[in-house]
Structure formats: C-alpha cells, structure tokens
Symmetry: C2
Subunit: 153 residues, 2 copies
C-alpha cells in the first residue's frame, strides 16, 4: 500500500491529514464568523492586518503569507466598500498605506466580538496544557516543513 513509509512517516502523515481537515473546518468557521458583518475570512484577515498597523499591500502580503497580488485584490474590494482607504505614504510614493475607516473599525470589532465568543467556548473544551502542547507541536512542524525541502524535483 505505502511500500516505503516508516511508522514515523505514517504518524506524521496522519498528523498532516488531520491538520488539513481541521484547517478546512476552521476556514468555514471563520467565514461564518465574518458573514454577519458582510465579510469573509480573506477580508477579515486584511482588515486585521491593516488595523494592527497601517501598512502597504505588499507588507500585508508578507505578514499574511500571501502574494501581494492576492492581498491587492481583496484590499481593492475593501476600499470600494469603504472599509479601508489608501493613505499617502511619506516614505514611498507608490506604496500607499492601508488604513481602516470608521466603518472598517466598526466592522472589524463586530467580527472580533463574535470570534471571542466562539473561541472562548471551544477553549473551554480543552485542558490548557493539552492545547499548549499541541500548539507547540504544530509550530515545530511548521518550522520543519518550511525547512524541509521536498525530495529533489
């Protein structure tokens, strides 16, 4: 079946599959959390990045682990909806800064409030130590997968 996978390989593969499945459900939950505010996970992420600090589209792309073109498309939609605006950047003529408008702040706060209720309820289901250890394992895997180049293409 899997001719050359070791027990350790099997264990990692099972872990990876469960992580991918959970991520799908988390994505769905994120969309549901953002929906009453008329937003989506993607828009929420960009709003949150711009709220954290005014930044260019390229900055947000790096912060979110996405290409700047992908962020650009969402940011243009957010601007059209009046949730962000592109402010002049004294340090760079081309790279305008995304800034939340009042409407953007209200929208983001509404999503954050719903997310808090959701996360609090789910957090109660776990032992604190269990959740912390799992998070550490996930982060370790994150770094390992980043580092591990796939067997030579």
């Amino acid at each position: 079946m899997n001719p050359d996978r070791t027990p350790a390989g099997d264990a990692f593969a099972a872990f990876a599959i469960s992580v991918l499945r959970l991520a799908g459900h988390l994505q769905t939950a994120g969309d549901a959390l953002a929906k009453p505010a008329g937003q989506t996970s993607a828009r929420w992420q960009v709003l949150a990045a711009a709220d954290h600090a005014p930044m260019s589209v390229a900055d947000a792309g790096r912060a979110l682990g996405m290409t700047r073109q992908g962020v650009q498309r969402v940011a243009d939609l957010l601007e059209k909806d009046g949730l962000i605006l592109y402010a002049e950047n004294p340090a760079h003529q081309r790279a305008k800064l995304m800034v939340l408008t009042e409407a953007g702040k209200v929208t983001l706060d509404a999503i954050k409030a719903r997310q808090a209720v959701w996360a609090n309820a789910l957090g109660e289901l776990f032992d604190k130590k269990q959740l912390r250890e799992a998070t550490e394992t996930v982060i370790t895997a994150l770094q390992a997968v980043e580092k591990q180049s796939v067997p030579d293409d």
Copy 2:
C-alpha cells in the same frame, strides 16, 4: 484589544492560527510532491480517492469533504489527461465510476513514493508520543468545531 476573550479563548485562537498556517505550508508541500508527476494536490487527492475504490464523483466529494462540483471539475481534467476513466456503474446509470487507468496508477505511485520519503524524514523529527497526542488534540478540535455552531448568525 480582545475585550472579551478568556485565557482559554486566547489559547484556542493561538492553536487555530498555528493550524491554519501549518495547513498552508502542507498544501504547498503537497503541490511540490505532486508537481514532478505533473499533478497538483487537488488532482492527487482525487486520484487517491478513486484508487482506494472506484467511486462516483459525488462519493469522492463526500469522502474529501468537498462539493461534488469541485471534484467534477478536477475529475474531468484527469479524464482528459487519461489518468482516470468513467466506467459504467451497474447500480446507477448517471453516476459513472471513476477508475484509475494504468497511467493513473503509475502517476499516483510516483507521488506516493515521494510523499513517503518526505513524511518519513519529517516523522523522524518528532517523538512518537508527541505526534500522536497532537493528532488526537487536532481530531478533538475537528469534532468540536464541527459541532459548535458559530454564535447565532
């Protein structure tokens, strides 16, 4: 900042974010593993489902947690490339069965071999118990997130 999130909520949110980030990297790694065979993660998943047992597009959608339309698009591409074929289904005139062709089997085996090397190497980096416990936590979260409806829309 997050006015009403409890420590447990913070812990779950941190866990969720790390899972989403790892899933992104795993997706990228999956694409890299499939690429030398001229495939992608999506095509690999459909090939693997059809290899497990001949099944209809709708069946594969359920197995993969995707809509049947999404699977259909990929399956049509796989058929066009000669990796699967739609076999008559004695039990259902409309719902043909996806079956791997010889070329499909060769392609899938090539991907599986590369995935084994990759998973084995990553699995070695972890304590077996650590990986097993993290997988259990992820699966528990999976079930909880499925069950937990988002605060009333």
